[in-house]
Amino acid sequence: MHFNLFVLPFTAGMIILSLLLTYRYIKWLIDLESGDLKRIGSKILSIKTLKALREIFMESLIHRKVFRNNILLGYMHMSLAFGWFLLIVFGKLETLFYTGRQANEIYYPVFFRFFEQNPHQTGMLIIFNAVMDFLLLMVLSGIVVAILRRFRPGIAGMKKTTKHSLGDRMALAALWLIFPLRLLAESATAGYSGNGSFITQPFGNFMHLFLPLQQLSIVFWWMYSLSLGAFMISIPFSRYMHIPTEILLIFLRNWDLKTNENFTGFSEIEVQSCSRCGICIDTCQMSSQGKNNTAQMVYFLRDYRYKQLQPDLTDNCLLCGRCTAACPVGIDLTQQRILQRKKNAFKLPQGFHYLPVNQPSGEADVIYFAGCMSHLTPGITLSMEKIFKAAKVNYLFMDRDGSVCCGRPLKLSGQHEAAKKLVEHNRQQIILSGAKTIVTSCPICYKSFREDYHMNIRVLHHSEYLNELIQKKKIAPLPSGKSVVFHDPCELGRGSGIYEQPREVLNHFAELRPIYQEKENALCCGGSLGNLSIVPEERCAIQKATAKYLETAHAEVIATSCPLCKKSLAQYSDTPVKDIAELVAASLTVVAENPKILKHHKVQEMVEIV
């Protein structure tokens, strides 16, 4: 039996942590959505579990995504996490090798060098000791980077770091102390007993020159144990809860669990998996362009976790999804915000009794649903009609004379029940038309049709539809030779994964210029309907910054495929901003045309020429 009083803080911390974790794990599993447990049961013995293990290794230990963000930042996370993990593994192996017993006291591997002060090392023990010293060095190097970064975020590629709460800062201090104290304790013992390796031994010998190590070393071991215990007790109450939670999250996600329409135990696990790394701060345009440094997801999740969430923080988000795309933990941050809004939603005073009665709207192959926003950009709707006619499509312009909203803006504001009524109204109208395909010009409607309407017909955004028309040679745009840069709308790109189709369309007749922040990393135009509390100055600042950014591609035209993006960007861009539908429609005309002759009867004449 190995024992010394100083092991108590560590052991107590370990036991308390284990109990608390067990309690929380069970509670989360109970709070899962009905059917989730069944889903886990059916997936647990599949290849998905191996995939989860691989992901845990790559993300929780190696931190691949953080590496992608910045190499030094990645190294910092990897050396701490993977280094510490290996210290635990090799520490266990070392005791296994040394004692030949599988079970030892839980603190024994941690304080191995204290209990085994035999200086006569042989064979494997020399190697183990060297490995342990090397791993300690690795972790310490990560801590050096962490400390430097806290004071100069720029060295790890970050403009701003998270402003942490007091509890987090105390946990951070304990974490930073653990490994320097371990170095001191092991070196001190090595200094008088000679059981160290290539780091601890020389350092111990050096300290032995001027310090009474035999008396002092126990102090270091106490401090080491205290810092470990303090850190472990702080885990459930600080951001470091992400360490045990993220592992669970990765398993559950691989078993196809996700946050749907309701806040469940899985959503809670997502919240607790946030490490508050702060990567979402720099990606947030509310911060970089709107000068708002309090509404980012890291603070949203933190305040939610500590039950201090203010409604304005919930509302003040563009829901552009840039943070979700950048989150190294892979939390569905956008959905988290929407569900919180759902909790806050007030009951709308009126029903929707005034909605028109659904009626069969005639035979058509394709329904065109422009969307409310497209009615504010008649350039887009007229171009789409021109294209339909040129392609000789039997289409029905369902919302020509105005329409009922698709419901998504209500949903984004948390009004799920009201949204459902609009969805049901439109859904019936679409089904009654008998069409096999619905095309919309609005990415917001598009996402809603795809995810909320559950219709047995094809849903296409016009960027997909135009690409299809061109590929099927229904229309043939004439090359314009113009250079264009494409702006990805949030709901179409990050929201629905449509990146290539609009680019393929443009490549048919224009010279598409790349820009650094595009596709998943594209900027939000600022016009988003998702933000419920943004002030106009802030919105204008974002719109302007994004327009100016796109101008740096030095293209002749800024192309996009969203009426809202078009309006936002056109406000501040000196370069013309066009929807791809407008560019396609213009490229169908042989004679150089003035937009004023995009009139219905004239469109038909022009189609004949084509």
Binding site: H375, L376, P378, G379, P595, K596, L598, K599
Partner: protein, 351 residues
């Protein structure tokens, strides 16, 4: 009297620049007046009649041209100023063709441009033929040709939309352009005079009838001419198959959304600083107002002085003004300059 003959450069020969150049010239200063177009008069040249009294715009133009002939030494047209810089108290004015000239005083009177209505795409300017702007209508009225829709027929229902690009945070313009309210009233009456059978509607947020006889004209428009005023912003305009326009708005007095058809829609576009005004202001390092107009060093006490010694501003480059206000402002700027030069001379004599 001006022994050391301080050279004054006036940028812009619109009403403000013309009046200031003539006033300073009459006071004995050598003035060079630079104009980017090939003629003087600026946007006054495109106006038909002035509010509120329907005075023909050419009368004011004739007055300004007459004063110019007598008083100003040098008028240079086709002189597009791109920047103004200051070195050792002297100001250097650089033109687009590379020429430059030095002056002791620079008076910027580079004026405004109208808000680009295409940016409010929901109103369809540049897309629907029957949507025009107030300057478009002014040109039609000035031409004295009968007013028609795009297809040549006489419009029977005409809408005026106020505040297009003014007081519109979404359009990035918070400021009020001041003259569009009364312009809408004036143009509505002019159209009604020409087409007594037409129904005319003005859609407004609120009407700012601040000038002498403005309110009277607004009352006259309703009582004598039967023009209808509806309080509510227009949300969007769509085009019907026959080329007429469907306008969606909310009547905020009755609290109801409404749809109406029109043969012609006139957008009362707001005033924003001219492109040159911004370029000159930035090159000279002048402060700008929130609406990007050139800012005065003190809005109350020295509205025509800038934060740079020797550079003055007048007219609509500093804020939206009517013709009458512009002429008054130009004279005020001239007095400011004369006082400034006198004080400077006194100081140098003391030394």
């Amino acid at each position: 009297m001006n022994t050391n003959r301080q050279h004054i450069i006036v940028i812009g020969a619109g009403p403000a620049g013309l009046e200031a150049a003539a006033t300073l010239g009459a006071a004995g200063y050598p003035v060079t007046l630079l104009e980017k177009e090939n003629h003087t008069g600026g946007k006054l040249k495109s106006l038909h009649q002035l509010f509120p009294g329907f005075r023909p715009a050419y009368e004011v133009q004739n007055y300004l041209d007459g004063r110019l002939e007598i008083n100003v030494a040098q008028v240079i047209t086709n002189a597009d100023v791109i920047s103004v810089t200051t070195e050792n108290g002297k100001h250097k004015v650089i033109l687009a063709d590379g020429q430059s000239m030095n002056g002791d005083i620079v008076l910027i009177a580079s004026g405004f441009q109208v808000f680009n209505a295409e940016k409010k795409e929901e109103y369809g300017y540049g897309i629907y033929e029957n949507v025009i702007t107030s300057p478009d209508l002014e040109a039609k009225l000035k031409s004295c040709d009968p007013l028609t829709s795009a297809n040549g027929t006489t419009p029977r229902k005409i809408a005026f939309i106020h505040c297009v690009g003014s007081r519109d945070q979404k359009a990035g313009n918070v400021h009020c352009s001041r003259v569009c309210c009364i312009t809408g009233v004036k143009q509505a009456i002019e159209v009604k005079m020409q087409l007594p059978g037409a129904e005319i509607f003005n859609f407004y947020m609120d009407l700012r009838m601040f000038g002498q006889n403005f309110e009277e004209l607004y009352i006259e428009a309703q009582q004598k001419w039967g023009i209808t005023f509806i309080r509510g912003r227009v949300s969007e305009i769509g085009e019907n198959m026959d080329g007429t326009l469907q306008l969606k708005a909310e009547d905020t007095l009755s609290g109801r959304p409404m749809k109406m058809n029109f043969d012609l829609v006139v957008l009362l576009v707001g005033i924003v600083p001219a492109r040159q005004t911004l370029a000159i202001g930035k090159s000279a390092g002048l402060a700008l107002t929130s609406g990007d107009f050139l800012a005065a060093s003190d809005a109350q006490l020295s509205p025509n002085k800038t934060t740079t010694d020797g550079i003055f501003i007048t007219g609509t480059c500093r804020e939206p003004l009517s013709i009458a206000e512009t002429l008054t402002d130009a004279r005020a700027a001239s007095v400011s300059i004369i006082q400034y030069l006198n004080e400077r001379q006194k100081k140098s004599e003391c030394i």
